[in-house]
């Protein structure tokens, strides 16, 4: 397996990877790169500390405990896409108990070949009291690439462990994405997910299932999405508050510039003293665009505090007029407002990634708007 500094990338590929947050110069604890269906890079810099990042198939050979964690959170026969990913390659990330990794771990899934079905299966195991920040990028080499990405991700967060999982997508008009993610969080554990996608996709479907299985566990899912003409997004997320004092938050900001976005969210309270909050805000910029917000709150207990706010509509004329009266054109005013609406500050980014993601976002916004 190659090391990060040995990976030779052409200029365009390098640029593409950078645009989804992959830092080729590597101020990272570990790096993973999959081209089509081959792992070309799996390099751990913080190895001595015990951080594990290896291709999944190697992981299965090496760790006997992995077998029973595979297809446990996401059932193999969930649907036709999970079945198609039966023998998929991907990564295993394991952070041993107590280990707190400061520098982010980066992974990228890159579709280079035309008409490829990229199948990925990732497993993340966060030992007790460990912490890690992951930045995951997905991109195609060319804008006219056709293809499909099926991504299975199973995440285990043990007691008091903390994981932030930041995902940036930059697909193409001909790419269909089926993500199947499930997360188990134990007592006082925390899972933070940040999702950014501002580009074309023929269909991107993603709805992580988060099970808060231990007292005091928390989860927060935030997404910033921009759908150009003809893009279709079906996004969601479910947080099951299964134990006392668990808390979940789902925040989404979506903009349709002609594309179709369904933004679902489910918070399900099944224990006392739980809290859940959901916010879905959408702006439609163009005719034919469509945003459907489907927030669902469900409680079967007396003592749960679940709230949601949802607002879908056109851009505020008062705000546009305000900026125009300062001399901005209509287009400039709209751009200002949309850029502000998709503010990375809404994400819960670790400090180590803030600058990187903000910069990436600037570039993405620039090309999208």
């Amino acid at each position: 397996m190659q090391k990060l500094h040995e990976v030779v990338l052409n200029k365009e590929d390098k640029h593409k990877l950078e645009s989804v947050g992959f830092d080729v110069e590597g101020a990272r604890s570990a790096s993973f790169l999959m081209n089509d269906d081959k792992v070309v890079l799996s390099d751990v810099e913080d190895m001595e500390k015990g951080l594990v990042l290896i291709p999944l198939k190697k992981g299965l050979e090496k760790y006997s405990w992995l077998e029973e964690r595979l297809w446990r959170l996401v059932p193999l026969d969930k649907d036709e896409f999970t079945r198609r990913a039966k023998d998929a390659e991907g990564y295993l990330i394991y952070v041993p108990p107590g280990l707190k990794i400061k520098r982010p771990l980066q992974a990228c899934f890159f579709i280079k070949s035309h008409a490829l079905e990229q199948k990925v299966h990732n497993v993340i195991v966060m030992g007790k009291g460990s912490s890690l920040d992951i930045i995951n990028g997905c991109a195609t080499a060319n804008y006219d690439t056709q293809g499909m990405h099926i991504g299975i991700t199973e995440i285990y967060i043990e007691e008091n462990a903390y994981l932030t999982y930041t995902m940036i997508h930059e697909w193409a008009p001909g790419v269909e994405v089926r993500a199947r993610t499930a997360v188990h969080v134990k007592r006082e554990g925390q899972f933070v997910s940040n999702y950014i996608s501002l580009q074309m996709t023929s269909l991107t479907q993603s709805a992580p299932q988060i099970y808060l299985e231990g007292e005091g566990a928390k989860a927060r899912l935030t997404s910033l999405v921009f759908a150009p003409d003809n893009a279709v997004y079906d996004l969601g997320g479910s947080i099951y508050l299964k134990e006392q004092n668990t808390a979940g938050e789902i925040i989404s900001r979506v903009v349709s510039n002609g594309g179709r976005i369904t933004s679902r969210g489910d918070i399900i309270a099944r224990a006392e003293g739980v809290r859940g909050h959901m916010e879905c805000n959408g702006i439609i910029l163009k005719e034919h665009g469509e945003i459907t917000a489907v927030p669902v709150l469900s409680s079967s207990t007396l003592n749960a505090d679940l709230t949601h706010e949802a607002a879908v509509g056109k851009i505020s004329r008062v705000e546009v007029n305000y900026l125009k009266s300062r001399g901005l054109t209509e287009e400039e005013a709209v751009q200002f407002i949309i850029e502000g609406f998709l503010d990375t500050k809404l994400l819960k980014l670790p400090q180590s990634l803030e600058e990187n993601v903000e910069k990436t976002m600037e570039l993405l916004k620039h090309s999208a708007l």
Binding site: S316, N321, G327, L328, T329, G340
Partner: protein, 246 residues
């Protein structure tokens, strides 16, 4: 006498918003370098007049024309008017989420002014990284508006109640800033003009205004020397002005 250059001319302006006629047959002329004051009770149409001059959507002109530097701007868009040199400080500005004040100001400023010292003058330096007007207090909002006007540096500033809800110290700061904005410290070569709405008349202490109007139910019922008019309002209220010689 030297003939002054006419900057803004409003002719017989009648304006409707929703179903309501808010301005009735308004006429006024503001020359280059002059500052005019607009008095009037709540709901009399003062803000509506400023919005109409700025070209804000929804203020339908039923009759009349607006000229800026002799050009008919009645049908120009807001941003075209702004680029011609008209600026406004709002009574109730909206918040623009996610947009930092600094970013907006840098965009507005076309002359590479020293934004930092400008913002210091207005005690706004610590707010540059805040989102525009989001969670600003009343006084902060007023200072932010004047700071934006200073960076835009318009030829004609429309200023809507710069003092409402502002404490004494900040009134001083705002007064000085508006004085600077309107070049009232200069005696001769003044090129900046203003139309200011005030209830308290505080601005008259900083800007020796040239002319004033009283608006009542959408009509100019009285105009003349700002100090005399203000004194009269204080003594006799707005309605007494109905009988004043126009």
């Amino acid at each position: 006498m030297i003939k002054k250059n006419e900057l803004l001319r409003i002719e017989n302006l009648t304006v409707e918003i929703g179903e309501k006629i808010v301005l009735k047959n308004i006429s006024m002329v503001i020359n280059e370098g002059e500052t005019h004051i607009l008095f009037g009770p709540n709901g009399s149409g003062k803000s509506s007049l400023l919005y109409t001059i700025m070209g804000i959507e929804g203020y339908r002109i039923l009759n009349g024309k607006i000229f800026f530097r002799s050009e008919d701007i009645t049908n120009l868009s807001i941003d075209e008017r702004a680029r011609k040199g008209i600026g406004i400080a709002y009574q109730h500005p909206p918040a623009i989420k996610g947009v930092r004040l600094e970013k907006l100001i840098n965009f507005i400023d076309k002359e590479s002014k020293d934004i930092v010292s400008l913002s210091k003058e207005l005690k706004m330096k610590d707010y540059l990284l805040r989102e525009v007007n989001l969670g600003f207090s009343g006084g902060e909002m007023k200072r932010s508006e004047i700071l934006q006007l200073l960076s835009q540096n318009p030829v004609l500033s429309l200023i809507d109640e710069p003092e409402s809800g502002v404490d004494i110290e900040n009134i001083e700061i705002l007064g000085q800033a508006i004085k600077k904005l309107l070049e009232r410290h200069l005696n001769r070569t003044r090129t900046r003009s203003g139309l200011i709405i005030t209830h308290t008349g505080f601005i008259l202490d900083y800007v020796k205004a040239d002319h004033a109007y009283i608006l009542l139910e959408g009509k100019i019922i009285c105009e003349g020397n700002p100090f005399e008019i203000f004194e009269n309002i204080q003594k006799n209220g707005f309605t007494a002005c109905k009988n004043c010689t126009k």
